[in-house]
Symmetry: C2
């Protein structure tokens, strides 16, 4: 198999130019590219990605694992992350972990074998064991939404308890006394923090946790619709519901309207995230805005610092602020 | 560096088991996994992904390149694709080509270097030269939305001319005579076909192409809003607008409402895609539904056939059907 040097000699260009043609990471004139590609064709050269990666100790690629690519929060986060990474010429690959019986584990193993330079894990529960192969391969990791079970890792998140506490307290201040909760799927971050914040707000207001009024969904619109139907089966219905994300709140709105009730007159609804759909739905959804794009950008900056560092920095925990956006559903 | 055989011997398991632990593609009992990982730790073993890939001639990974991960059409397509691929145990990696000055070229070069088994290129213009490295690496390719400039490639698409013709003709049949068009960004598939279908429908109905009424957007909500504002600057405004996708139609709706006009009484709007937001926006958007999920599934099936075939199959062109969904914007 010919070497890069052989290709460079035959094409009459420098090895650096051949390398730029192969990586696509630096501009090369179309004529030069054509020449180099023709020579490569003639010589039957196959770039050896691993050898290249080992030489430079960089592959120029970062992977982000998300639980549901069809929840617009995650594409927005990926966009912010990509914006950070482009500044240093990294490519981002997105893995949608949420479908099928594939675990986070398989995607992490794949990322390790492909020798990505960094991994961002968004709102997914991972085990310490899953992370051992990552650490062993010296791949930098930043997590979003939950601290990873390894020492010294970085996490970017909203303060989920405060998000839920503030949203629920807003409903209390609007005069609601019977407030239900549609929570995220148990075991998935940030379901726990948001459920705790809801209960803390009720307690703070001196309200009892109403019987059968804390129901879990699965973060999807359909799951929110099903959870709301269960809540509406109760003899005494709530006057307001705090939903742990916008997709579930939109599903809850579907169920309230299908039951012949009005939002917000009969049941007020608050979501979390402020995805674009929150402002499109009618009545427009009141929500606790979490800046997905900013979270992605911050995660990208932390990751680039780790990738560039000789020794791993001390683990940092960055909290992004949330903000109540009042619309017509309350 | 120890071999897989050395790890297997030290751990007292088969090489196959070690390989399963490393790939994460087959279940291994937690106790065995721990043992194997401990041995790997002690021996300082690093899996050599390229060597493995060359041995098996498969990496178990497929990449999909999309122009805009924040347009919900593409996550839906990716979900359908992932569903197909999971049946044969493939991981899917999603690349968002649309941000920054990264070209399709850089992502393709990266996919080639990583030796993915297949690539799906969705609604992106690629050059024959870009595809040469892909073909040279014997990576299977399926495209969505536009036929690639290589012999024997597979394409899955809607009939874009017919989509636009049918949408515009529907507006004609509703009595509209002055029908504008907000087109996709020139040079990006399927902008051309949808612009042609619009003009063909006007001609078929014996209507002139109204002056200044065919404006191009960039497939985004903001771009649609800007395009609509330009259309509304004309002395004689249209009574209806055919928008080449839903995001631009929603942006056009923003502009119509901001101008103090009503949808559909003053300006009727039709989009294309039927993303979830089309049914959430008020008035709900009439649109020509393109089955993103089905396109993804079909693309996945074609790709798996190509990956599994000894000789590349003859290029196929699969057309998915479109369907008018009438809501309140017309």
């Amino acid at each position: 198999m010919p070497t890069i040097a052989a290709v460079a000699a035959a094409a009459g260009v420098s090895k650096t130019t051949v390398s730029h043609v192969l990586s696509g990471k630096r501009p090369v004139s179309p004529a030069t590219r054509r020449t180099v590609l023709n020579v490569i064709d003639e010589l039957g050269f196959q770039p050896n990605s691993l050898a290249q990666a080992l030489r430079s100790r960089r592959t120029g690629t970062v992977a982000v694992l998300v639980p549901d690519v069809t929840n617009p929060f995650y594409p927005a986060l990926a966009r912010g992350l990509q914006r950070s990474l482009l500044a240093q010429d990294y490519l981002l690959l997105l893995a949608d972990v949420g479908i099928g019986d594939r675990a986070v584990h398989a995607f992490l193993a794949d990322a390790v074998q492909r020798r990505v330079d960094g991994i961002v894990i968004a709102a997914l529960a991972v085990t310490a064991e899953d992370l051992r192969t990552v650490a062993r391969a010296r791949i930098s990791v930043v997590s979003v939404g939950v601290r990873l079970p390894i020492d010294g890792s970085d996490v970017v998140s909203s303060d989920d308890e405060a998000v839920a506490f503030d949203a629920t307290t807003y409903l209390v201040n609007r005069g609601h006394r019977r407030i239900a909760n549609i929570g995220g799927q148990p075991g998935t971050p940030p379901a726990l923090g948001r459920a705790k914040g809801y209960r803390a707000a009720l307690e703070h207001a001196g309200l009892d946790l109403p019987d059968g009024m804390q129901v879990v969904g699965d973060w999807t619109r359909d799951g929110g619709e099903r959870a709301m139907r269960r809540i509406l089966e109760h003899a005494t219905r709530p006057t307001a519901v705090f939903c742990a994300n916008d997709l579930m709140a939109i599903g809850a709105m579907d169920a309230v309207i299908a039951a012949g009730l009005r939002v917000p007159q009969d049941v007020a609804l608050v979501g979390v995230d402020d995805i674009e759909a929150a402002s499109l739905v009618r009545p427009a959804l009141t929500t606790m805005r979490i800046p997905a794009d900013e979270i992605g950008q911050v995660a990208g900056s932390l990751l680039l610092e780790r990738i560039g560092a000789d020794t791993a920095p001390i683990g940092r925990s960055i909290r992004v602020s949330h903000e109540l956006v009042v619309r017509d559903s309350t």
